[in-house]
Amino acid sequence: MLVFLIRRLVGTVPVLVAVSIFVFGFVRLLPGDPARLVAGPDATAQDVAAVRIELGLDGPLLQQYVRYMGQTLRGELGRSAKTRQPVAHEIGARFMPTLWLTVAAMAWALAFGLLVGVISGVRRGRWQDHAGMVMAISGISFPSFWLGLLLIDLFSVRLGWLPTGGYGDWTHFVLPSITLGAGVAAVLARFTRSAFVEVSAEDYVRTARAKGVPERMVVWKHTLRNALIPVVTMTGLQFGFLLGGSIVVETVFSWPGLGRLLIDSVSFRDYPVIQAEILLFSLEFVLINLIVDVLYAFVNPEIRLK
């Protein structure tokens, strides 16, 4: 298991290097002179030159990259062009809200998705299946920002049960995490169902029945455990979707997270922040995939023991 973990960790290195090259190339792909953009309207030529050095845009490309990597590894991400604060500070404050929102959304999406998926899979072709799948396919077809607006309108404005947005106690989490998780819940429900149905047709499920295992155990022990293997992978992929979705949902719910920061940075063309954020998002995604792989090995002995 340890060997597996180390191997998997080493395996992320090329992806991270590629991501870093992409992020590095990001500012350099921009049309025009980013230093001029960042320096602002009042800047003199010296100011622009200073900003260029600050952004690491001076010297040969390779040297720039090495320097960039060095700084990144030391956690020096530069200063925001907009606020003049260190980027790490900007991002740090917003990291936890986004993380918790994502986790909350995933938690309910997973619980809901698995439950609906299994029920639909067991009651294949009956009304429970149809109801579950209607919900699921609607979930993936619904624009999340619209859902968010409708939820605020209903639960906050009309009923006054829940706050409209902002980051605070658990009540603040309800609507944003529902909005964010809806699509993922739907995807997981569908996916769990199809994995479940597929596993149900496996010979070993028949074997379980042939030895007189009660249906309940056939479902939870023999079928679901195997169906979970692909579901785990899918869940990992969906984390990426959540991270992306948080960008929109944070706007709707005034959530002080990375997503909103990103939109603000894009509209202000605050390149140091955009750059760092893309890096962070990718890092998070890679990390989540790592965790998923470990989980995957946990549920799948064939991976774990080989």
């Binding site: 074997t207 295992v213 195997n226």
Partner: protein, 625 residues
């Protein structure tokens, strides 16, 4: 094979007459229907079947005959497979002597009966075990469920069962997962699960079909001995008449969901009444039937003239293979570290002459297919030389590659998979012609028509798609396609293994006919010794990537000199109930894996001559050959 012709006396082959035994299972008028998207389809029509305690009833039939569905209906697992029992009753007398109609039992009552009363063993050991559960737990689960014992007791029982199915080191095996076991071992585990609750009726659905012949013999023997021990009723479902002859007391022959004949095993083999049974038996190649004949002889055709031996071999070698080596590197991890090598083919040498059929036999993983694939370069050999009609084709280049691709053709095992489903038969046959630019324009179509005629297919098939053809017809198409480039050598890789027995004989005859007419040489790769006996001039036996014995067919099969050859031949089920193999000495050992550590190179045993053109590998034992 003459040595095997001894009448077996140790075990009487017929069970007690039906009237004397209380029927354990009494199926009457069973109908099973599936709801397909084309509407309901009845696949079993009014079947009657009786099994007594301690009796073995073989249910025989070709694919689609409804035999497996019958098994699922009896256990009511059919409820989960999309089918329904739409008629008849399934009488079953349980341990307490109570008679049940399984066709109408509640699901819960059925569940309680599965395991302690009725158990099943399935065909596919590779997929029948739950991949995420330890095998000990999978066995113990049934024990704990039905006998109400705890974890420790269940585990102890699981260990006892593993001992019983002769799995070595049973204690340590309990914690292993299915993927860590070979197919034969998994089937033993399946048997252990099925028998863990001492069922009164065991239904074995093609339990050995997916296994190699030596493993099959082991498993058959195991089932038989456990059956006697536990006094179970046994329904043995198979398509293989050889297996039937080995195990059955009584035989039920099914076709298209109906029973066409039933009777004592001896009677069925001696005097089959129904034409279908007769055809079935006629098509079964009987190993040893050509023991007196030096040359290959086609299968006899019902109502046709008796076949004549074929002498087609010339002295001229068309294919010379020397020291062929093909290995597959097993790499792991990020940097693809070499952790092992599969020595699929290790120092294989042979000649193939014009008009000759050289059969390569051996069990799965022995390297026989890889040998064929390496010659046609579907795999890349790492050593050795290959000469085609004197020309070195070891290293392919622009000039010799088209030559090889034209002169050597390959026929694959699965006729359903070897034709592109999106292309017409005509195009598939014409593809070699186009590829090698042998003909242009309308001449192509003309040639395709000729080829279709050569393989006895109607020329209208030229516009058909593969899905419109049966398996046998498709294999004929594949042969026509192989002939399209006028090859000198055809490598037939288990080319008839996937076909039903009756079709198999026709296709074998077609191949032999083509050899007689066109003088083409065959490298006939097969695990089926009986077919090999029909077609081969010479036989090469492979084991762990090496040829351990090679020589004239009559010499190798009649007078095997290598221990492995002997073992292989002894394991072949003989379709004659009088020649049951219980007494044959079979060991329970597993075939070693051809996967070795990178530094662990195998020694290639030299072949020594033991007779005219007959060579045997002499192994290095204790520092001496």
């Amino acid at each position: 094979m003459r040595t095997l012709r001894i009448v077996h006396l140790l075990y009487p082959t017929s069970a007690a007459p039906l009237s004397q035994t209380q029927a354990l299972l009494d199926v009457q008028g069973l109908r099973v229907t599936f709801d397909t998207d084309r509407g309901p389809a009845t696949v079993v029509h009014g079947l009657d079947l009786r099994v007594s305690a301690g009796e073995t009833v073989a249910v025989v039939g070709e694919s689609g005959s409804g035999k497996s569905v019958t098994a699922l209906a009896i256990t009511r697992l059919i409820d989960y497979a999309g089918g329904r029992i739409t008629g008849g009753r399934i009488g079953f007398t349980d341990r307490a002597g109570v008679l049940h109609d399984l066709a109408t039992e509640t699901p819960e009552a059925m569940r309680r009966m599965r395991g302690p009363e009725i158990a099943m063993v399935f065909q596919e050991p590779m997929t029948s075990l739950n991949p995420v559960l330890r095998i000990g737990d999978q066995i113990a689960e049934a024990v704990m469920l039905h006998q109400g014992v705890g974890q420790a007791e269940g585990r102890a029982e699981a260990k006892r069962m593993l001992d019983r199915v002769r799995i070595p080191e049973s204690a340590s095996q309990l914690d292993r997962y299915p993927f860590q076991l070979s197919g034969g071992m998994r089937q033993r585990v399946m048997i252990a699960i099925a028998l863990s609750c001492r069922p009164r009726l065991l239904i074995a659905d093609e339990p050995t079909t997916a296994l190699d012949v030596t493993v099959q013999a082991q498993v058959l023997r195991l089932i038989a001995s456990l059956q006697r021990e536990l006094e179970m009723g046994l329904i043995f479902i198979t398509h293989d008449m050889g297996v039937v002859a080995e195990v059955a007391d009584r035989v039920v022959v099914m076709r298209n969901g109906e029973k066409v004949e039933e009777g004592d095993v001896q009677r069925i083999f001696d005097a089959p009444e129904h034409p279908y049974t007769r055809a079935l038996l006629a098509a079964v190649p009987l190993l040893g039937s050509l023991a007196d004949q030096k040359l290959p002889v086609p299968f006899p055709v019902p109502d046709g003239p008796p076949p004549r031996p074929q002498d087609t071999v010339t002295d001229q070698p068309v294919l010379e293979v020397r020291d062929l080596v093909t290995r597959f590197d097993v790499r792991r991890g990020l940097f693809g570290r070499l952790v092992g090598r599969i020595h699929a083919v290790e120092g294989v040498s042979f000649d193939l002459r014009h008009g000759e059929t050289l059969a390569v036999v051996g069990e799965s993983g022995c390297g026989k297919s890889t040998t064929g694939r390496s010659i046609i370069r579907l795999e890349q050999p790492v050593g050795g030389t290959i000469r085609l009609a004197g020309l070195d084709v070891t290293r392919l280049n622009r000039s010799n590659e088209p030559l090889l691709r034209r002169a050597v053709q390959f026929v694959f095992q699965d006729p359903f998979a070897s034709l592109d489903p999106r292309l017409t038969i005509g195009f598939s046959i014409a593809e070699p012609i186009h590829t090698h630019r042998l003909l242009q324009g309308p001449a192509v179509e003309q040639r395709v028509r000729e080829l279709l005629q050569q393989v006895d297919l109607p020329v209208e098939h030229i516009w058909r798609y593969p899905h419109e053809l049966s398996g046998g017809q498709r294999q004929r198409v594949c042969i026509a396609r192989a002939l399209a480039s006028e090859p000198q050598v055809i490598i037939a890789d288990e080319a008839v293994a996937a076909l039903d027995v009756s079709i198999r004989a026709q296709v074998v005859n077609l191949l032999m006919d083509l050899q007689a007419r066109l003088g083409v040489a065959f490298l006939f790769i097969s695990h089926d010794m009986a077919v090999v006996e029909r077609v081969a001039h010479r036989v090469a036996v492979m084991y762990l990537g090496q040829i351990v014995e090679i020589g004239p067919r009559q010499a190798v099969m009649g007078d095997p000199r290598h221990a492995y050859t002997k073992r292989l031949l002894a394991a072949v089920p003989v379709p004659d109930p009088r020649r049951r193999a219980y007494a044959r000495d079979l060991d329970d050992s597993e075939v070693p894996s051809p996967l070795r550590a990178p530094s662990d190179m195998p020694t290639v045993a030299p072949l020594v001559q033991v007779g005219p053109d007959h060579y045997v590998a002499r192994h290095h034992v204790g520092g001496l050959y």
